[in-house]
Amino acid sequence: MATKEEIVIQAKKIMDEFISALSKVNVKEKFGAERDLQVRTPSKEVTDSTEFRKRIFKNAPKIKDDYFLMEKKEW
Protein backbone atom coordinates (compact mmCIF):
# COMPACT_ATOMS: atom_id res chain seq x y z
CA MET A 1 0.00 0.00 0.00
CA ALA A 2 1.25 3.49 -0.88
CA THR A 3 2.03 5.97 1.92
CA LYS A 4 -0.49 8.66 2.90
CA GLU A 5 1.68 11.33 1.30
CA GLU A 6 1.86 9.39 -1.97
CA ILE A 7 -1.90 8.86 -1.96
CA VAL A 8 -2.57 12.58 -1.40
CA ILE A 9 -0.27 13.53 -4.26
CA GLN A 10 -1.88 10.96 -6.55
CA ALA A 11 -5.43 12.01 -5.60
CA LYS A 12 -4.66 15.71 -6.09
CA LYS A 13 -3.11 14.95 -9.49
CA ILE A 14 -6.24 13.06 -10.58
CA MET A 15 -8.51 15.86 -9.35
CA ASP A 16 -6.43 18.54 -11.10
CA GLU A 17 -6.59 16.57 -14.36
CA PHE A 18 -10.34 16.12 -14.04
CA ILE A 19 -11.02 19.75 -13.18
CA SER A 20 -8.78 20.92 -15.99
CA ALA A 21 -10.96 18.90 -18.41
CA LEU A 22 -14.06 20.61 -16.98
CA SER A 23 -12.55 24.07 -17.34
CA LYS A 24 -12.96 23.80 -21.12
CA VAL A 25 -16.72 23.60 -20.71
CA ASN A 26 -18.85 26.70 -20.47
CA VAL A 27 -20.98 26.26 -17.40
CA LYS A 28 -23.69 28.55 -16.09
CA GLU A 29 -22.49 31.05 -13.55
CA LYS A 30 -25.51 30.52 -11.29
CA PHE A 31 -27.12 27.17 -10.84
CA GLY A 32 -29.74 25.35 -8.78
CA ALA A 33 -27.55 24.32 -5.91
CA GLU A 34 -26.59 27.90 -5.11
CA ARG A 35 -28.94 30.07 -3.16
CA ASP A 36 -28.29 33.59 -2.04
CA LEU A 37 -29.95 32.85 1.28
CA GLN A 38 -27.18 30.45 2.16
CA VAL A 39 -24.67 33.28 2.38
CA ARG A 40 -24.29 34.46 5.96
CA THR A 41 -23.74 38.12 6.61
CA PRO A 42 -21.91 39.00 9.82
CA SER A 43 -24.31 40.30 12.45
CA LYS A 44 -23.56 42.63 15.35
CA GLU A 45 -21.32 41.21 18.00
CA VAL A 46 -23.28 39.95 20.99
CA THR A 47 -21.85 41.54 24.09
CA ASP A 48 -24.43 40.66 26.74
CA SER A 49 -24.37 36.90 27.18
CA THR A 50 -26.00 36.78 30.65
CA GLU A 51 -29.32 35.59 29.27
CA PHE A 52 -27.70 32.88 27.22
CA ARG A 53 -25.64 31.72 30.20
CA LYS A 54 -28.74 31.55 32.41
CA ARG A 55 -30.65 29.58 29.81
CA ILE A 56 -27.92 27.04 29.18
CA PHE A 57 -27.39 26.47 32.92
CA LYS A 58 -31.12 25.96 33.33
CA ASN A 59 -31.13 23.28 30.64
CA ALA A 60 -28.01 21.46 31.81
CA PRO A 61 -28.66 18.09 33.48
CA LYS A 62 -25.86 18.46 36.06
CA ILE A 63 -24.16 21.60 37.37
CA LYS A 64 -21.12 21.94 39.57
CA ASP A 65 -20.08 25.42 40.77
CA ASP A 66 -20.02 27.62 37.71
CA TYR A 67 -19.76 24.89 35.07
CA PHE A 68 -21.98 22.06 33.91
CA LEU A 69 -21.22 18.36 33.56
CA MET A 70 -22.02 16.66 30.29
CA GLU A 71 -22.82 12.98 30.06
CA LYS A 72 -23.53 11.17 26.82
CA LYS A 73 -27.25 11.07 25.98
CA GLU A 74 -28.24 13.06 29.06
CA TRP A 75 -28.45 16.50 27.53
Binding site: I7, A11, I14, M15, F18, I19, V27, K28, A33
Partner: protein, 449 residues
Protein backbone atom coordinates in the same frame (compact mmCIF):
# COMPACT_ATOMS: atom_id res chain seq x y z
CA UNK B 1 -37.90 -21.34 -11.60
CA UNK B 2 -38.36 -17.56 -11.93
CA UNK B 3 -39.54 -15.28 -9.12
CA UNK B 4 -43.16 -15.19 -10.27
CA UNK B 5 -43.41 -18.99 -10.50
CA UNK B 6 -41.81 -19.35 -7.09
CA UNK B 7 -44.18 -16.86 -5.47
CA UNK B 8 -47.16 -18.66 -7.01
CA UNK B 9 -45.86 -21.95 -5.59
CA UNK B 10 -45.38 -20.46 -2.12
CA UNK B 11 -48.80 -18.79 -2.13
CA UNK B 12 -50.51 -22.01 -3.26
CA UNK B 13 -48.73 -24.06 -0.59
CA UNK B 14 -46.68 -26.13 -3.06
CA UNK B 15 -43.45 -24.69 -1.65
CA UNK B 16 -43.02 -23.59 1.95
CA UNK B 17 -41.03 -20.53 3.02
CA UNK B 18 -38.99 -22.88 5.23
CA UNK B 19 -38.02 -25.09 2.27
CA UNK B 20 -37.16 -22.04 0.18
CA UNK B 21 -34.94 -20.53 2.86
CA UNK B 22 -33.38 -23.91 3.68
CA UNK B 23 -32.36 -24.46 0.06
CA UNK B 24 -30.58 -21.10 0.04
CA UNK B 25 -28.88 -21.71 3.40
CA UNK B 26 -27.59 -25.02 2.01
CA UNK B 27 -26.39 -23.25 -1.14
CA UNK B 28 -24.60 -20.61 0.95
CA UNK B 29 -22.94 -23.32 3.02
CA UNK B 30 -21.75 -25.01 -0.15
CA UNK B 31 -20.72 -22.03 -2.29
CA UNK B 32 -19.98 -19.01 -0.12
CA UNK B 33 -16.54 -20.15 1.04
CA UNK B 34 -15.41 -19.92 -2.57
CA UNK B 35 -17.48 -16.96 -3.82
CA UNK B 36 -17.37 -14.81 -0.64
CA UNK B 37 -20.64 -13.06 -1.46
CA UNK B 38 -22.00 -13.09 2.11
CA UNK B 39 -20.27 -11.50 5.09
CA UNK B 40 -22.99 -12.66 7.47
CA UNK B 41 -25.75 -15.25 7.31
CA UNK B 42 -28.91 -14.80 9.37
CA UNK B 43 -29.12 -17.73 11.78
CA UNK B 44 -32.76 -16.95 12.55
CA UNK B 45 -33.89 -17.04 8.92
CA UNK B 46 -35.45 -20.51 9.28
CA UNK B 47 -37.42 -19.47 12.39
CA UNK B 48 -38.65 -16.39 10.57
CA UNK B 49 -39.68 -18.60 7.62
CA UNK B 50 -41.66 -20.84 10.01
CA UNK B 51 -43.62 -17.82 11.24
CA UNK B 52 -44.35 -16.77 7.67
CA UNK B 53 -45.60 -20.28 6.80
CA UNK B 54 -47.97 -20.08 9.79
CA UNK B 55 -49.16 -16.67 8.60
CA UNK B 56 -49.73 -18.11 5.12
CA UNK B 57 -51.90 -20.88 6.54
CA UNK B 58 -54.10 -18.17 8.02
CA UNK B 59 -54.48 -16.69 4.53
CA UNK B 60 -52.19 -13.70 5.02
CA UNK B 61 -49.33 -13.15 2.62
CA UNK B 62 -47.25 -10.12 1.76
CA UNK B 63 -45.91 -9.35 -1.71
CA UNK B 64 -42.53 -10.97 -0.99
CA UNK B 65 -43.87 -13.89 1.01
CA UNK B 66 -41.15 -16.40 1.84
CA UNK B 67 -38.52 -14.96 -0.50
CA UNK B 68 -34.91 -14.84 0.69
CA UNK B 69 -33.48 -11.33 0.46
CA UNK B 70 -29.80 -10.40 0.73
CA UNK B 71 -28.82 -6.90 1.85
CA UNK B 72 -25.64 -4.98 1.00
CA UNK B 73 -23.43 -4.30 4.01
CA UNK B 74 -24.07 -0.54 3.99
CA UNK B 75 -27.83 -0.73 4.64
CA UNK B 76 -28.90 -0.99 8.27
CA UNK B 77 -30.61 -4.20 9.37
CA UNK B 78 -31.29 -4.41 13.09
CA UNK B 79 -28.89 -6.71 14.96
CA UNK B 80 -26.86 -7.65 11.89
CA UNK B 81 -23.24 -6.55 11.26
CA UNK B 82 -23.29 -3.55 8.91
CA UNK B 83 -19.58 -3.12 8.31
CA UNK B 84 -19.52 -1.53 4.82
CA UNK B 85 -16.90 -4.27 4.28
CA UNK B 86 -14.51 -2.10 6.31
CA UNK B 87 -12.47 -2.68 9.44
CA UNK B 88 -13.73 0.71 10.65
CA UNK B 89 -17.23 -0.66 11.25
CA UNK B 90 -16.43 -4.35 11.66
CA UNK B 91 -17.98 -4.41 15.14
CA UNK B 92 -20.98 -2.22 14.30
CA UNK B 93 -24.35 -3.95 14.42
CA UNK B 94 -27.40 -2.23 12.96
CA UNK B 95 -29.40 -0.59 15.73
CA UNK B 96 -32.49 -0.14 13.55
CA UNK B 97 -33.97 -1.23 10.23
CA UNK B 98 -33.47 1.03 7.23
CA UNK B 99 -36.76 2.14 5.65
CA UNK B 100 -36.25 -0.33 2.78
CA UNK B 101 -35.61 -3.23 5.16
CA UNK B 102 -38.68 -2.36 7.23
CA UNK B 103 -40.77 -2.45 4.04
CA UNK B 104 -39.34 -5.83 2.99
CA UNK B 105 -40.12 -7.35 6.39
CA UNK B 106 -43.63 -5.91 6.27
CA UNK B 107 -44.19 -7.75 2.98
CA UNK B 108 -42.94 -11.04 4.47
CA UNK B 109 -39.52 -11.11 2.81
CA UNK B 110 -36.83 -12.85 4.88
CA UNK B 111 -33.42 -11.21 5.27
CA UNK B 112 -31.07 -14.12 4.66
CA UNK B 113 -27.80 -12.27 5.13
CA UNK B 114 -25.51 -9.30 4.59
CA UNK B 115 -23.43 -9.15 1.43
CA UNK B 116 -19.85 -8.23 0.66
CA UNK B 117 -18.99 -5.02 -1.20
CA UNK B 118 -16.13 -2.70 -2.06
CA UNK B 119 -15.10 -1.02 1.21
CA UNK B 120 -17.45 1.94 1.83
CA UNK B 121 -18.84 1.43 -1.69
CA UNK B 122 -15.63 2.79 -3.22
CA UNK B 123 -14.77 0.67 -6.22
CA UNK B 124 -16.13 -1.02 -9.28
CA UNK B 125 -14.46 -4.41 -9.02
CA UNK B 126 -15.53 -6.05 -5.75
CA UNK B 127 -11.85 -6.49 -4.96
CA UNK B 128 -11.69 -3.60 -2.47
CA UNK B 129 -13.41 -5.36 0.44
CA UNK B 130 -11.48 -5.58 3.71
CA UNK B 131 -12.91 -9.11 4.10
CA UNK B 132 -11.51 -10.46 0.85
CA UNK B 133 -12.70 -10.08 -2.72
CA UNK B 134 -15.93 -11.54 -4.07
CA UNK B 135 -15.58 -14.01 -6.94
CA UNK B 136 -17.70 -13.79 -10.07
CA UNK B 137 -19.73 -17.02 -10.21
CA UNK B 138 -20.10 -16.76 -13.99
CA UNK B 139 -16.51 -16.26 -15.21
CA UNK B 140 -12.88 -15.76 -14.19
CA UNK B 141 -13.18 -11.94 -14.07
CA UNK B 142 -14.05 -9.58 -11.20
CA UNK B 143 -17.77 -9.50 -10.38
CA UNK B 144 -17.88 -5.71 -10.54
CA UNK B 145 -18.78 -3.38 -7.73
CA UNK B 146 -19.43 -1.96 -5.42
CA UNK B 147 -22.50 -4.22 -4.88
CA UNK B 148 -20.30 -7.22 -5.68
CA UNK B 149 -21.67 -9.58 -3.01
CA UNK B 150 -25.30 -8.79 -3.84
CA UNK B 151 -24.74 -9.52 -7.54
CA UNK B 152 -22.72 -12.68 -6.91
CA UNK B 153 -25.28 -13.95 -4.36
CA UNK B 154 -28.08 -13.59 -6.92
CA UNK B 155 -26.05 -14.97 -9.84
CA UNK B 156 -25.01 -18.06 -7.86
CA UNK B 157 -28.55 -18.70 -6.58
CA UNK B 158 -27.79 -18.03 -2.93
CA UNK B 159 -30.84 -15.76 -2.55
CA UNK B 160 -33.94 -14.71 -4.49
CA UNK B 161 -33.37 -10.95 -4.62
CA UNK B 162 -30.68 -8.61 -3.29
CA UNK B 163 -30.52 -4.95 -2.35
CA UNK B 164 -27.60 -2.90 -3.54
CA UNK B 165 -26.73 0.77 -3.77
CA UNK B 166 -25.76 2.77 -6.83
CA UNK B 167 -23.85 6.06 -6.69
CA UNK B 168 -22.11 5.86 -10.06
CA UNK B 169 -22.99 2.37 -11.31
CA UNK B 170 -22.52 0.13 -8.26
CA UNK B 171 -25.62 -1.95 -9.06
CA UNK B 172 -25.53 -1.88 -12.85
CA UNK B 173 -21.84 -2.68 -13.24
CA UNK B 174 -21.90 -5.94 -11.19
CA UNK B 175 -25.31 -6.86 -12.63
CA UNK B 176 -23.73 -6.74 -16.10
CA UNK B 177 -20.56 -8.63 -15.17
CA UNK B 178 -22.55 -11.35 -13.35
CA UNK B 179 -25.24 -11.69 -16.05
CA UNK B 180 -28.26 -10.61 -13.99
CA UNK B 181 -30.86 -7.82 -13.88
CA UNK B 182 -30.29 -4.60 -11.90
CA UNK B 183 -31.93 -1.23 -11.43
CA UNK B 184 -30.84 2.16 -10.17
CA UNK B 185 -34.04 4.05 -9.34
CA UNK B 186 -34.59 7.76 -9.93
CA UNK B 187 -33.06 10.03 -7.30
CA UNK B 188 -35.72 10.44 -4.61
CA UNK B 189 -37.75 7.34 -5.53
CA UNK B 190 -36.48 5.15 -2.68
CA UNK B 191 -35.79 6.21 0.90
CA UNK B 192 -32.14 6.23 1.94
CA UNK B 193 -32.91 6.33 5.64
CA UNK B 194 -30.59 3.75 7.19
CA UNK B 195 -28.07 3.81 4.35
CA UNK B 196 -24.45 4.58 5.21
CA UNK B 197 -23.81 7.07 2.44
CA UNK B 198 -20.98 7.42 -0.05
CA UNK B 199 -22.12 10.58 -1.78
CA UNK B 200 -25.33 12.12 -0.52
CA UNK B 201 -26.29 13.88 -3.73
CA UNK B 202 -25.98 10.75 -5.87
CA UNK B 203 -26.64 7.58 -3.80
CA UNK B 204 -29.70 5.44 -4.40
CA UNK B 205 -30.78 2.07 -3.01
CA UNK B 206 -31.76 -0.35 -5.78
CA UNK B 207 -32.34 -4.00 -6.65
CA UNK B 208 -30.59 -7.01 -8.22
CA UNK B 209 -32.37 -10.20 -9.29
CA UNK B 210 -32.22 -12.97 -11.89
CA UNK B 211 -35.39 -11.72 -13.63
CA UNK B 212 -37.16 -8.45 -14.41
CA UNK B 213 -40.33 -9.45 -12.57
CA UNK B 214 -38.50 -9.95 -9.25
CA UNK B 215 -36.62 -6.67 -9.67
CA UNK B 216 -39.84 -4.80 -10.44
CA UNK B 217 -41.71 -6.40 -7.55
CA UNK B 218 -39.01 -5.46 -5.07
CA UNK B 219 -38.99 -1.90 -6.41
CA UNK B 220 -42.74 -1.76 -5.88
CA UNK B 221 -42.14 -2.64 -2.23
CA UNK B 222 -39.27 -0.28 -1.44
CA UNK B 223 -40.39 2.80 -3.44
CA UNK B 224 -42.20 5.76 -1.99
CA UNK B 225 -41.89 8.94 0.00
CA UNK B 226 -40.59 8.69 3.53
CA UNK B 227 -40.79 11.13 6.39
CA UNK B 228 -37.33 9.92 7.38
CA UNK B 229 -35.71 11.04 4.12
CA UNK B 230 -36.27 14.57 2.89
CA UNK B 231 -34.86 13.75 -0.54
CA UNK B 232 -37.75 11.40 -1.39
CA UNK B 233 -40.50 12.71 -3.66
CA UNK B 234 -44.22 12.38 -3.29
CA UNK B 235 -44.66 10.43 -6.52
CA UNK B 236 -47.16 7.69 -7.16
CA UNK B 237 -45.64 4.21 -7.04
CA UNK B 238 -47.07 2.27 -9.95
CA UNK B 239 -47.47 -1.49 -10.13
CA UNK B 240 -44.13 -2.05 -11.83
CA UNK B 241 -44.50 -5.84 -11.77
CA UNK B 242 -47.49 -5.75 -14.14
CA UNK B 243 -44.92 -5.27 -16.92
CA UNK B 244 -47.20 -3.74 -19.51
CA UNK B 245 -46.67 -3.95 -23.26
CA UNK B 246 -44.54 -1.17 -24.78
CA UNK B 247 -44.98 -0.23 -28.44
CA UNK B 248 -44.36 2.69 -30.81
CA UNK B 249 -41.80 4.54 -28.74
CA UNK B 250 -38.59 6.29 -29.75
CA UNK B 251 -35.38 4.57 -28.73
CA UNK B 252 -32.15 6.54 -28.80
CA UNK B 253 -28.49 5.64 -29.15
CA UNK B 254 -25.67 8.16 -29.19
CA UNK B 255 -22.43 8.46 -31.15
CA UNK B 256 -20.90 10.16 -28.10
CA UNK B 257 -21.40 6.93 -26.19
CA UNK B 258 -20.04 4.87 -29.10
CA UNK B 259 -16.81 6.92 -29.04
CA UNK B 260 -16.32 6.08 -25.35
CA UNK B 261 -16.41 2.32 -25.99
CA UNK B 262 -12.95 0.79 -25.66
CA UNK B 263 -14.04 -2.70 -26.72
CA UNK B 264 -15.92 -2.33 -30.00
CA UNK B 265 -17.39 -5.85 -29.66
CA UNK B 266 -19.45 -4.59 -26.72
CA UNK B 267 -20.94 -1.68 -28.65
CA UNK B 268 -21.64 -3.92 -31.67
CA UNK B 269 -23.57 -6.36 -29.45
CA UNK B 270 -25.60 -3.57 -27.82
CA UNK B 271 -26.40 -2.00 -31.20
CA UNK B 272 -27.56 -5.35 -32.59
CA UNK B 273 -29.81 -5.95 -29.58
CA UNK B 274 -31.20 -2.40 -29.78
CA UNK B 275 -32.08 -2.94 -33.46
CA UNK B 276 -33.77 -6.25 -32.65
CA UNK B 277 -35.71 -4.59 -29.84
CA UNK B 278 -36.87 -1.67 -31.97
CA UNK B 279 -38.25 -4.10 -34.57
CA UNK B 280 -39.90 -6.26 -31.90
CA UNK B 281 -41.76 -3.36 -30.33
CA UNK B 282 -42.38 -1.53 -33.59
CA UNK B 283 -40.34 1.50 -32.55
CA UNK B 284 -37.86 3.90 -34.10
CA UNK B 285 -34.18 3.77 -33.21
CA UNK B 286 -32.57 7.18 -33.68
CA UNK B 287 -29.25 8.87 -32.95
CA UNK B 288 -29.25 11.60 -30.31
CA UNK B 289 -26.60 14.19 -29.54
CA UNK B 290 -25.30 14.08 -26.00
CA UNK B 291 -22.66 16.78 -25.70
CA UNK B 292 -20.62 16.78 -22.47
CA UNK B 293 -21.45 13.18 -21.43
CA UNK B 294 -17.82 12.35 -22.18
CA UNK B 295 -16.98 14.48 -19.11
CA UNK B 296 -19.09 12.42 -16.70
CA UNK B 297 -16.14 10.78 -14.93
CA UNK B 298 -14.35 14.12 -14.52
CA UNK B 299 -17.55 15.61 -13.08
CA UNK B 300 -18.47 12.73 -10.81
CA UNK B 301 -15.24 12.07 -8.94
CA UNK B 302 -14.62 15.55 -7.47
CA UNK B 303 -18.20 15.44 -6.11
CA UNK B 304 -17.71 11.97 -4.65
CA UNK B 305 -14.30 12.80 -3.15
CA UNK B 306 -15.66 15.87 -1.33
CA UNK B 307 -18.94 14.28 -0.20
CA UNK B 308 -17.23 11.10 1.01
CA UNK B 309 -14.73 13.17 2.98
CA UNK B 310 -17.54 15.18 4.52
CA UNK B 311 -19.81 12.17 5.17
CA UNK B 312 -17.13 10.10 6.88
CA UNK B 313 -16.09 12.69 9.48
CA UNK B 314 -18.33 10.81 11.93
CA UNK B 315 -16.00 7.82 11.74
CA UNK B 316 -13.37 9.49 13.89
CA UNK B 317 -12.83 6.54 16.22
CA UNK B 318 -14.88 7.92 19.10
CA UNK B 319 -18.32 6.52 18.42
CA UNK B 320 -17.78 3.79 15.81
CA UNK B 321 -14.73 1.84 16.83
CA UNK B 322 -11.87 2.79 14.53
CA UNK B 323 -10.80 5.95 12.80
CA UNK B 324 -11.61 5.53 9.11
CA UNK B 325 -8.26 6.81 7.84
CA UNK B 326 -6.51 4.07 9.81
CA UNK B 327 -8.79 1.18 8.91
CA UNK B 328 -10.07 1.51 5.34
CA UNK B 329 -9.02 0.40 1.87
CA UNK B 330 -6.52 2.35 -0.23
CA UNK B 331 -9.27 3.59 -2.56
CA UNK B 332 -11.34 4.95 0.35
CA UNK B 333 -8.25 6.64 1.75
CA UNK B 334 -7.51 8.15 -1.68
CA UNK B 335 -10.98 9.63 -1.87
CA UNK B 336 -10.96 10.90 1.72
CA UNK B 337 -7.51 12.49 1.53
CA UNK B 338 -8.20 13.80 -1.95
CA UNK B 339 -11.55 15.19 -0.79
CA UNK B 340 -9.86 16.88 2.17
CA UNK B 341 -7.21 18.36 -0.07
CA UNK B 342 -9.60 19.80 -2.64
CA UNK B 343 -12.01 21.02 0.03
CA UNK B 344 -9.11 23.06 1.40
CA UNK B 345 -8.34 24.33 -2.08
CA UNK B 346 -11.98 25.15 -2.77
CA UNK B 347 -11.49 28.93 -2.72
CA UNK B 348 -13.21 30.40 -5.73
CA UNK B 349 -15.17 27.18 -6.27
CA UNK B 350 -12.36 25.54 -8.21
CA UNK B 351 -13.32 21.92 -7.64
CA UNK B 352 -16.63 20.98 -6.01
CA UNK B 353 -18.57 23.99 -7.27
CA UNK B 354 -17.20 23.54 -10.76
CA UNK B 355 -18.14 19.86 -10.71
CA UNK B 356 -21.67 20.68 -9.49
CA UNK B 357 -22.04 23.13 -12.37
CA UNK B 358 -20.89 20.48 -14.86
CA UNK B 359 -23.31 18.01 -13.24
CA UNK B 360 -26.16 20.37 -13.97
CA UNK B 361 -25.01 20.73 -17.57
CA UNK B 362 -24.88 16.95 -18.12
CA UNK B 363 -28.31 16.56 -16.50
CA UNK B 364 -29.65 19.19 -18.88
CA UNK B 365 -28.11 17.39 -21.87
CA UNK B 366 -29.75 14.11 -20.92
CA UNK B 367 -33.12 15.67 -20.14
CA UNK B 368 -33.02 17.44 -23.53
CA UNK B 369 -32.47 14.06 -25.17
CA UNK B 370 -35.65 12.79 -23.50
CA UNK B 371 -37.61 15.45 -25.39
CA UNK B 372 -36.73 13.52 -28.57
CA UNK B 373 -36.70 9.91 -27.37
CA UNK B 374 -38.40 7.84 -24.67
CA UNK B 375 -35.39 5.71 -23.77
CA UNK B 376 -31.63 5.74 -24.33
CA UNK B 377 -29.83 2.47 -24.99
CA UNK B 378 -26.16 2.00 -24.22
CA UNK B 379 -23.63 -0.48 -22.82
CA UNK B 380 -22.94 -0.77 -19.09
CA UNK B 381 -19.15 -0.67 -19.24
CA UNK B 382 -16.82 0.37 -22.05
CA UNK B 383 -14.69 -2.77 -21.69
CA UNK B 384 -14.83 -6.27 -20.24
CA UNK B 385 -13.96 -6.62 -16.53
CA UNK B 386 -10.39 -7.38 -15.53
CA UNK B 387 -9.18 -10.64 -13.99
CA UNK B 388 -9.33 -10.87 -10.19
CA UNK B 389 -5.56 -10.71 -9.61
CA UNK B 390 -5.02 -7.95 -12.17
CA UNK B 391 -4.77 -4.67 -10.22
CA UNK B 392 -5.91 -1.52 -12.00
CA UNK B 393 -4.63 1.98 -11.35
CA UNK B 394 -7.34 4.37 -10.04
CA UNK B 395 -8.02 6.11 -13.34
CA UNK B 396 -8.33 2.79 -15.19
CA UNK B 397 -10.85 1.61 -12.58
CA UNK B 398 -12.79 4.90 -12.79
CA UNK B 399 -13.04 4.42 -16.58
CA UNK B 400 -15.45 1.51 -16.02
CA UNK B 401 -18.06 4.02 -14.79
CA UNK B 402 -18.23 6.06 -18.03
CA UNK B 403 -21.66 4.71 -19.06
CA UNK B 404 -23.27 4.44 -15.65
CA UNK B 405 -22.37 7.80 -14.06
CA UNK B 406 -24.53 9.98 -16.38
CA UNK B 407 -27.73 8.47 -14.91
CA UNK B 408 -26.63 9.38 -11.38
CA UNK B 409 -25.65 12.89 -12.40
CA UNK B 410 -29.03 13.41 -14.08
CA UNK B 411 -31.05 11.73 -11.29
CA UNK B 412 -32.86 9.50 -13.81
CA UNK B 413 -33.60 5.77 -13.54
CA UNK B 414 -31.55 3.14 -15.36
CA UNK B 415 -31.80 -0.61 -15.68
CA UNK B 416 -29.59 -3.45 -16.90
CA UNK B 417 -30.53 -6.76 -18.51
CA UNK B 418 -28.15 -9.51 -19.66
CA UNK B 419 -27.95 -9.77 -23.47
CA UNK B 420 -24.95 -11.89 -24.35
CA UNK B 421 -21.49 -13.22 -23.66
CA UNK B 422 -18.13 -12.03 -25.02
CA UNK B 423 -15.00 -14.13 -24.30
CA UNK B 424 -17.07 -16.08 -21.77
CA UNK B 425 -17.95 -12.87 -19.87
CA UNK B 426 -21.61 -11.81 -19.45
CA UNK B 427 -22.52 -8.47 -21.01
CA UNK B 428 -25.50 -6.36 -20.02
CA UNK B 429 -27.50 -3.80 -21.96
CA UNK B 430 -28.36 -0.58 -20.18
CA UNK B 431 -31.50 1.53 -20.60
CA UNK B 432 -31.87 5.12 -19.38
CA UNK B 433 -35.40 6.40 -18.77
CA UNK B 434 -36.72 9.75 -17.60
CA UNK B 435 -36.80 10.43 -13.87
CA UNK B 436 -39.73 8.57 -12.25
CA UNK B 437 -40.47 6.58 -15.42
CA UNK B 438 -39.67 3.26 -13.74
CA UNK B 439 -42.94 1.65 -14.79
CA UNK B 440 -42.16 1.95 -18.52
CA UNK B 441 -38.48 1.16 -17.91
CA UNK B 442 -39.37 -2.22 -16.39
CA UNK B 443 -41.78 -2.96 -19.22
CA UNK B 444 -39.07 -2.30 -21.81
CA UNK B 445 -36.51 -4.32 -19.84
CA UNK B 446 -38.95 -7.22 -19.89
CA UNK B 447 -39.08 -7.04 -23.68
CA UNK B 448 -35.34 -7.77 -23.93
CA UNK B 449 -35.43 -11.30 -22.68
Amino acid sequence: MNTKEKLDKIKSGKLSAVDNVKSFLDAIKKKNKDINAFLYVNESALDEAKLIDEKLKKGKAGKLVGLAIAVKACINVKDMPISCASKTLENYYGTYDADVVEKIKKEDGIIIGITNMDCFACGSTGANSMFGPTKNPKCDRVPGGSSSGSAAAVASNMCDIALGTDTGGSIRNPASHCGIVGIKPSYGRVSRYGLIDLSMSLDQVGVLCNDVYGTALMMEVISGQSNNDGTTFNKKTEKYSELKQIKNVNLGMSEEFEKLCQDKRIYALIKKKAEELSKKINSKLVNVDLPHVNLSIQTYYPIVYVELYSGTRKFDGRKYGKKIEESCSEEVLRRILGGKEISRAEHGGRYYRKALQAKELIAETINDAFKKVDFLILPVTPLLPNKLKEKLDPKAEYAFDAYTIPANLAGICAGVVPVGVIDGVPVGLQIFAKAFDEERLFSLMNDIK
